[in-house]
């Protein structure tokens, strides 16, 4: 049931929202890093090197607050980019046949490039 991603206007691409894509794989990897690495406690149970007088144990974890937020931001951006690319490709192909397969229902709303999709 999965379709090859193609920019052939006669065969519109399937919505990346409900199939596995390279972008989703990358996002999953990024998020898993953000979950697993901060939990590897033995990697940061030390006092030196200090940062602004903070022992490494404390400074490292506070630093991860920013890093995790950035990784979530990156993930969000990647997914939105994927969705925007899909919408552009779909609109190119929509001159021809744009009937959806199976239970997928499409929207023709003009607002949908504001959304990410996973």
């Amino acid at each position: 049931m999965s379709d090859m991603e193609t920019t052939d206007p006669a065969r519109p691409p399937t919505d990346p929202r409900w199939r596995p894509t390279p972008t989703k794989f990358i996002v999953t990897a990024i998020l898993l890093v953000a979950i697993v690495v901060p939990l590897l406690v033995p990697t940061y149970t030390r006092v030196e090197p200090r940062v602004f007088g903070f022992p490494f144990f404390y400074a490292y974890q506070l630093g991860w607050v920013f890093l995790a937020a950035a990784l979530c931001g990156l993930s969000f951006w990647l997914l939105r980019r994927e969705r925007a690319a899909y919408l552009r490709a779909r609109d190119v192909g929509s001159r021809a046949d744009d009937q959806p397969r199976s239970e997928q229902r499409r929207t023709s709303s003009a607002n949908d490039d504001e959304r990410g999709g996973l």
């Binding site: 033995p42 149970t45 200090r50 144990f57 974890q61 506070l62």
Partner: protein
């Protein structure tokens, strides 16, 4: 500290009054035809955008209990009990990034209001859904009680209390009555509006404290040194053991990581977090907030470190009865080292910081009862007004129950029940979250897994004691069976839960036992606000569809 700190108290009361007025005015915000319907009262009706959600979720996730208890734990026993809150909030956002959007989508396609609804739609079973609902209600009640403990701590430091029952309990009763009144009238709009005020105040107070106090006490290096010294010194209760942990050693590392991971997995299973999530206007709001909510985590980390500042400052958190009470550390620190008016602002921030989550928690627990117990088992077709009325009454009862809990039981019991509630709510994770991704797991296996996790978690939490003060449910850590090290009981119970679920699923599938009907289709989990079939505002009067 003798007598009442009048200035601080006046500032506190003024702030409280302002917020009360806001609470009642909130009913006019994004005015609906009537607050008599549950979706207007219980979900805020027209949905909230990113910024409002940020304040609301922030108000939800960072409660008065958090602001009082985390630094108190740091002050008393150091990093493991207190600072785990930082990696907890670090891993929380990537974790919810995976499933919050799906939760929003399927809920808005099928009219789900609660986690129990989600489970029922996916597996076609009322039993599993009832298990999820009861767990949600049970876990929320001690959490509400602890918000009231937070208010009590602040009032005690301003000097209100003492031997007279009236002086001690009356302020709390007034705060409770006010909270109950505007929640009853305005529903979810009230805490949403108040969250703006509360979070702004908290940010202000913490920012000032974090800059001013360390400077006053000679810089962070000295503060950390004082903390390290205290943690290494023999404990007062048991001189053979160190007071606490400055940097976790080998034995404590899994405890630290498991507390963080278990708490992160559990948080969005709490009804009030789900309520806040589902009230946002599109599926991506949760993800956008995953990027900006960490601002609160930073605040939490710095706040935790204020517990260490209190060590350096020599703060003595003595209750009005003369006994040491670590929960009073932060209010006492502020009272000792800030001018009275600013201490009043800080106390106001904390007290208001109790009201927002207490309101949302009681609304969420009420939603669960109304939809998944009252409607499911007692009265399948109530009118809009009946439904809203039942919810309002249940919300009142949960707050009242929490109040009684706080007034009648000793504080340590309240803290312990919160720990137990955390272990319980985590056991609903498989039933709710696995179903958002796959229907492979069997519903009866999920129910058995839930039961196994609940049983294991409760029994182990009852029995374990490090310093054996013979108090049940006192500890969140226990030796993990195959690992031989201490770990968070909730997470170990979750592993038991998942193993039982997986094994039974294989058995039940092989035996071809029915897995119920699934109301959802795959595209439901990705639907956004403009897609067909998606309700922008979930109508709670209708059953799930």
């Amino acid at each position: 500290m003798t007598g009442v700190n009048v200035v601080a108290l006046i500032v506190l009361i003024v702030l409280f009054a302002i917020v009360t007025v806001l609470g009642f005015l909130a009913a006019r915000w994004r005015r609906p035809e009537s607050l008599a319907s549950l979706h207007e009262w219980g979900l805020g009706g027209k949905s909230f955008g990113t910024i409002t959600s940020w304040f609301l979720l922030g108000g939800d996730l960072y409660t008065a209990y958090t602001f009082i208890a985390v630094p108190a734990a740091m002050w008393a026993t150091g990093a493991v009990a207190g600072f785990f809150a930082v990696p907890y909030t670090v891993v929380l956002y990537p974790i919810i990034f995976f499933f919050l959007a799906r939760m929003w989508s399927v809920a808005h396609r099928h009219g789900y209001v609660t986690t129990a609804d989600i489970v029922q739609g996916r597996y076609g079973t009322k039993t599993l859904s009832l298990a999820v609902a009861i767990t949600g209600i049970l876990a929320t009640m001690p959490y509400i009680a602890l918000q009231l403990v937070g208010i009590q701590a602040v009032l005690e430091v301003t000097g209100l209390g003492g031997s007279s029952v009236l002086a001690r309990d009356l302020p709390l009763l007034i705060a409770f009555a006010v909270l109950a009144a505007y929640t009853y009238s305005s529903g979810l709009r009230a805490p949403a509006m108040i969250a703006f005020v509360k979070d702004s105040l908290i940010y202000l107070v913490i920012a000032v404290a974090i800059i001013y106090l360390p400077l006053k006490f000679g810089g962070w290096r000295g503060i950390f040194d004082a903390a390290a010294a205290k943690m290494a010194a023999p404990s007062a209760a048991n001189p053979k053991v160190a007071t606490g942990v400055f940097i976790p050693g080998d034995a404590a590392q899994w405890a630290y990581a498991s507390l963080a991971l278990g708490s992160a997995l559990a948080l969005f299973m709490y009804p009030h977090c789900v309520t806040a999530t589902l009230s946002s206007k599109d599926r991506s709001t949760g993800r956008r907030n995953a990027v900006i909510l960490p601002a609160y985590s930073l605040l939490l980390g710095l706040l935790a470190l204020l517990g260490y500042v209190a060590i350096k400052a020599g703060t003595k958190p003595l209750g009005l009865d003369g006994k040491a009470n670590p929960q009073l550390v932060i209010p006492q620190l502020f009272e000792d080292h800030f001018p009275s008016w600013f201490a009043g602002v800080a106390f106001g921030a904390i007290a208001i910081g109790a009201l927002v989550p207490a309101a949302i928690m009681s609304i969420a627990a009420a939603n669960l009862f109304t939809r998944n117990i009252y409607k499911a088992y007692f009265k399948p077709n109530p009118t809009d007004e009946q439904e809203a009325r039942v919810s309002k009454i249940v919300s009142l009862i949960t707050k009242f129950g929490a109040l009684l809990f706080v007034l009648l039981l000793d504080r340590q019991n309240a803290l312990n029940f919160q720990l137990l509630g955390g272990v319980w709510i985590l056991q609903t994770f498989p039933a709710i979250v696995f179903g958002l991704f796959t229907r492979w797991f069997h519903r009866w296996a999920l129910l058995a897994g839930w039961a196994a996790g609940m049983l294991y978690g409760t029994v182990v939490a009852y029995g374990f004691c490090t310093q054996c003060t013979v108090r049940p449910f006192a500890n969140s850590l226990a030796i993990v069976p195959l690992l031989g090290k201490a770990g968070y009981i909730g997470l170990t119970a979750l592993v038991v839960n998942i193993v039982v679920t997986a094994v039974l699923t294989l058995v039940l599938r092989a035996a071809k036992v029915s897995n119920g009907t699934d109301l959802t289709v795959q595209s439901d989990y990705f639907a956004d606000v403009d897609d067909p079939g998606v309700q922008a505002v979930i109508s709670e009067h209708e059953p799930i569809r």
